[in-house]
Amino acid sequence: MLIGHQPKDFLLAVSGLTVSFDGFKAVNDLSFYVEESEIRVIIGPNGAGKTTVLDLICGKTRATAGSIQFRGKELTRMKENEIVKTGVGRKFQTPSIFEDLTVFENLEISFPRGRSVFGSLTFRRDATVKRRVEEVAEMIFLKDRLNVYADELSHGQKQWLEIGMLLIQDPDLLMLDEPVAGMSVSERSKTAELLNRIIKNRSVLVIEHDMKFVEDIAHKVTVLHQGQILSEGTMERVKNDPKVIEVYLGH
């Protein structure tokens, strides 16, 4: 790819990304670009490779070919924890939080300081940490549950806690895998409100099936099908694309 070929304001540039599992191409020559402060939603039928794309960006899965540039840095050759340090945060599909720790401790572990072995031995819970944890806890509606063990939270609260753990890292790119799956209606609207609040100064990449939710938050939608892009654009455009209706929305 030529330098200067892409406009500079792309935060994330995925180009020619391919991964094959024993010959099966879960993601096939995929290219897309995410701008600063953009909310991009990836939709598509089951097995379209949505989660695999997130896995590739955060380093959980290694790409067979192609490149992922984040702020000009090549992510495909970096380790997971280094990718996190460049400013990419990832939320998993099922809430993955530390159930044997309190909400406070969960958030504190994600606070971006003292991440080496000796850094964590000498880590101090000072006023900055406490203030930031409380700030984030308020955002994720868990301010009065700081000393509760995380396994006592409801499903929705667990999802928020994981989002909070990402927020405290203050990533430039936030990747969320089905953030509202399994949530009640009221939790869902609260989550939409939360997402709209936290996107300031950062980009968000979301996988979601809930069309109502997608319409609420998306700036731009990418439709994946069999590891390739089927359609891309605003929700309005994508919704009326006959190819999309045929393979996905028509169901």
Partner: protein, 378 residues
């Protein structure tokens, strides 16, 4: 130093009752022979502390802690053996001044590896560094490649087996199956007398409490919480920006060093070191002690070690054939019925009763008996 923030209430109860038991009750109640047995049990308690850190908190099951126990023990034994093999004591040998087993194996000079063990400061460093570096190499090789769980446990077990074979095979350098025996003095101070055994017991207890405090300190740092986090959701830790492998290596090395300190003290207390403390069976026994006591409780694991070893001594004196079956049954029972061991039983059944007792009696003074009965039972 020890305040209520450092230990929570039930830990404090455990800590104080352990201190009372080891510093006051046992030395007063037991003769030197039995006290020396307790000293031997307590050397395994160091291994248990290490296992609580790496297995209980970090979720890394090592079935090869005997290797590190042995390395620490052998380092100490080499120093003591060299001191016992001075020329005056070994005039009868064809090569005076080298350990007796080397002479029997036709060695005519002290092997290169043995030479630095003339120095006590070097020996002390080696007790910590040799197992530490060895654990680092194993840990780096395994955890960087994301080998974990059962596979890691099996590999550590294989290492324990290899280590035993190596020690037994290299008779001229290691004393073979007999180990390094006939250790006499430490800087000219006879370690075989009753008086020396009493002093060594208290030295060991001091080391044990220092280790408890060190382990508790690590547990209370963010590193301790990351270990717990890693046990539950390894990926989440990784995607919070931590190198999971480095934290695993750290906890494995720390566990190895605790085990090695125990091994070195074992050599001093018991007066010899042999491959029978290195192999698969002792390594698994050490895991059982920890499991019985409670793998997430430092104090619990120490009580577990003492209790199981007492049972082992008294039962194997009466029914030598049955003991191993008993130990196996105990392990299965603990895993199935009490996954958190004695410490779990204490926390789930004993502690709530004591709390209720406090609550119901209110301001009334409570009998000392209720705590004294319950406390050592942990």
């Amino acid at each position: 130093m020890i305040n209520s923030r450092f230990f929570n209430r039930s830990e404090l109860v455990g800590f104080i009752s352990l201190a009372l038991l080891l510093i006051v009750i046992l030395p007063l109640a037991l003769d030197v022979f039995r006290l020396n047995l307790v000293a031997k049990y307590l050397t395994y308690a160091f291994v248990a502390i290490g296992l609580v850190m790496c297995w209980g908190y970090g979720g890394i099951l090592s079935l090869g802690q005997g290797v590190f126990f042995g390395l620490g023990g052998y380092c100490m034994a080499m120093f003591l053996k060299l001191e016992a093999s001075i020329v005056e004591n070994t005039k009868m040998q064809s090569t005076p001044g080298i350990p007796d087993f080397m002479d029997w194996n036709q060695l005519t000079a002290l092997p290169f590896l043995w030479k630095p063990f003339h120095s006590f400061p070097f020996t002390l460093l080696a007790i910590v560094l040799v197992p530490g570096i060895f654990a680092f190499i194993i840990g780096a090789a395994m955890f960087k490649r994301r080998v974990g769980g059962v596979y890691f446990a099996i590999i550590t077990q294989a290492i324990a087996a290899i280590m035993t074979i190596l020690i037994v095979g290299q008779q001229g350098y290691t004393g073979g199956i007999n180990g390094i025996t006939d250790l006499r003095t430490l800087y000219g101070w006879d370690i075989r007398t009753d008086h020396a055994k009493l002093i060594l017991y208290f030295v060991e207890v001091a080391f044990l409490f220092a280790s408890i405090i060190a382990a508790q300190f690590i547990r209370l740092t963010k590193l301790g919480r990351i270990l717990v986090a890693m046990r539950e959701q390894e990926d989440r830790v990784r995607f919070s920006g931590y190198s999971v492998a480095n934290f695993k290596i750290f906890s494995f090395c720390a566990a190895a060093i605790f085990a090695a300190i125990g091994g070195a003290l074992f050599t001093l207390e018991v007066g010899f070191m042999s491959p029978s403390f290195v192999g698969i069976v002792p390594s698994i026994e050490m895991v059982i002690y920890t499991a019985v006591g409670g793998r997430t409780s430092i104090i619990g694991a120490i009580f577990g070690t003492i209790l199981v070893n007492f049972a082992k001594t008294s039962l194997s004196e009466t029914f030598p054939q049955l003991w191993l079956f008993g130990l196996g049954a105990l392990f299965i029972a603990v895993v199935l019925a009490f996954p958190n061991g004695l410490a779990g039983i204490w926390a789930d059944h004993v502690q709530p009763r004591i709390d209720r007792l406090f609550a119901s009696r209110g301001s009334k003074t409570w009998s000392d008996g209720s705590v004294a009965d319950g406390a050592p039972a942990e």
